[in-house]
């Protein structure tokens, strides 16, 4: 079994929606992750708050961001165990993030550090 990272890209939800709507998304996310955890296939994950973010560039130039330059920013990730990329994709399809038009979940295999990958 391999590990895959599911990277969420979406706009800052707190700028689009009411606290009540945020609450509903949180719940949906919990239920979605709970379903993966119930199969003992959730390795971990976290949300990445949009406030207080910085980008460090060449020559140590620090900017606020990365907002404004690309529409979808990384808002969080989870790591799952799956037999194949297709199974990991099936997990990704259930993510509440995808309710937002233009939002994406990128599915990437995690290198094993076994000298091959």
């Amino acid at each position: 079994m391999d590990e895959f990272i599911l990277i969420f890209r979406h706009e800052d939800g707190s700028k689009l929606a009411s606290p009540e709507q945020m609450q509903i998304w949180m719940k949906q996310t919990m239920d979605w992750m709970g379903g993966i955890a119930a199969q003992n296939k959730l390795v971990g994950g976290t949300g990445l708050p949009f406030e207080n973010a910085r980008v460090v560039r060449h020559n140590n130039v620090v900017t606020n961001g990365p907002f404004g330059e690309i529409k979808e920013t990384i808002g969080g990730y989870i790591i799952v165990k799956a037999d194949s990329i297709d199974e990991a994709v099936e997990f990704a399809k259930g993510s509440p993030v995808l309710q937002g038009d233009g939002n994406t979940v990128e599915v990437r295999k995690i290198a094993k550090g076994d000298g091959v990958h």
């Binding site: 719940k27 919990m30 239920d31 992750m33 709970g34 379903g35 955890a37 119930a38 199969q39 003992n40 959730l42």
Partner: protein
């Protein structure tokens, strides 16, 4: 209280206190000496009280006899180390003036420190439970064997091994505040302590033993020891309060969850007037105390689930909340039983069809509860499949109680 009842009663409450205090005074390598002195004290009580009657203050009598026996032991020990041992090897200073302090404060401190020593990571959890029952709860070997459904021999072996291990690892009985290098060290050990107490409670709660009194005693002892942690500043932490809250909520259903014959009554069929409301409100109190800080332990999630189960009415709000707690619990620590229960909660929130799809992904085909769950979910949707699943569950079920429950479900289809 008649003497016939008084001595066993005092044995249960005082033996462990005397043992803990003596053990702390002598060091854990002398754990057997401490137990022997405590046992001899009760033997003296039995002999003396039979002839002279029960003293005015039986507990004070026990303490002073225990103190004298301890002092005599030390004196004999000193004669040995002072006069005989030097001829064998260089004399060590040994134990000199030890004050045996049987005040409430020292009893509490000693028991707490013993709990931390017993839950040393070098000892397996199974053995920690037996040792805790013996040293900290004052259970007899017979009682431990009955409660844990094993033989006296096994328990004796476990206890022997545990004491060896404590000696070998030179485990110290130390004050919590100064005995550990850092707060992180305390918390690490506290995790092990909580696991042991959690399992100790479960041993009682889910025990197949037909001795109802003993089962309940096990749970109450686990609660008492958890409360010990709450009374101490360094260990009065959110996870500890969450654990006690969880225990209170579960214990509130003691009288409702089994028939007189010891058959399990399922949650839905329980007579809620038999639920203990005092324990429910205590559970709520400790859950409130647990809601500080920003770390959520598995005990928080389980206490949350148990809290919602104290409300019998089926509301969408109840099951949505339970589902969230199971989601949380599974993310903290996976267990097949939590996965199955979560799927049941899911069926209450999103309907049976959604839940069946999720249940089939769990693939826990060696677990009879898995097929019980599928049977439940298929009931009224596809009764033929429901029956097939219940039949598979029946074949996999290990205990007579479980088989009986499943049989009833098949008949009710």
């Amino acid at each position: 209280m008649e003497q016939k009842e008084l001595i066993p009663h005092l044995f249960r409450t005082e033996f462990r206190k005397i043992t803990a205090v003596l053990c702390k005074a002598f060091g854990i390598e002398h754990i057997e000496t401490a137990e022997d002195i405590a046992s001899e004290t009760f033997l003296s009580a039995l002999e003396t009280w039979t002839y002279k009657g029960i003293p005015e203050n039986p507990v004070a009598w026990l303490y002073s006899v225990a103190k004298n026996k301890a002092k005599n032991h030390i004196r004999r020990h000193q004669v040995f180390t002072g006069k005989i041992a030097p001829q064998i090897r260089h004399a060590e200073p040994g134990i000199q003036e030890i004050e045996i302090d049987l005040s409430d404060k020292n009893i509490m401190d000693s028991q707490l420190q013993m709990l931390f020593a017993v839950c040393h990571p070098s000892i397996s959890t199974e053995v920690q439970i037996s040792l805790s029952l013996r040293i900290l709860c004052g259970f007899g070997i017979d009682e431990i064997a009955t409660a844990l459904l094993t033989s006296k021999e096994t328990i004796n072996k476990r206890l022997f091994r545990a004491k060896e291990k404590l000696r070998l690892e030179k485990v110290k009985i130390e004050p919590i505040a100064t005995g550990f290098a850092s707060e992180a060290e305390i918390n690490k050990r506290l995790d092990t302590v909580l696991t042991t107490l959690y399992l100790l409670f479960n041993e009682g709660y889910y025990s197949e033993s037909d001795n109802a009194v003993l089962r309940e005693d096990l749970c109450l002892e686990a609660m008492r020891l958890t409360y010990l942690l709450i009374e101490n500043e360094q260990t009065n932490q959110p996870a500890v309060n969450a654990l006690l809250s969880l225990m209170c909520f579960h214990a509130s259903r003691f009288n409702a969850r089994k028939t007189e014959k010891g058959e399990i009554i399922l949650y839905h069929d329980q007579d809620e007037t038999l639920w203990n409301h005092e324990l429910i409100s205590k559970g709520a109190y400790f859950l409130h105390q647990a809601s500080h800080g920003n770390k959520i332990s598995k005990y928080h999630a389980e206490a949350g689930i148990a809290y919602w189960h104290t409300i019998k009415a089926d509301t969408p709000e109840k099951w949505a909340a339970i589902l969230q707690f199971f989601d949380q619990l599974l993310q903290i620590e996976y267990s097949p039983i939590a996965a199955l229960n979560r799927t049941y909660a899911l069926s209450k929130v999103k309907g049976k069809t959604t839940a069946i799809a999720e249940a089939e992904k769990l693939n826990l085909t060696d677990n009879h509860f898995y097929f019980v769950l599928l049977g439940e979910l298929y009931t009224d949707i596809d009764n033929r499949k429901a029956k097939q699943n219940f039949q598979k569950a029946f074949l996999l079920a290990k205990t007579q109680t479980d088989k009986l429950t499943i049989q009833k479900k098949i008949e009710n289809l």
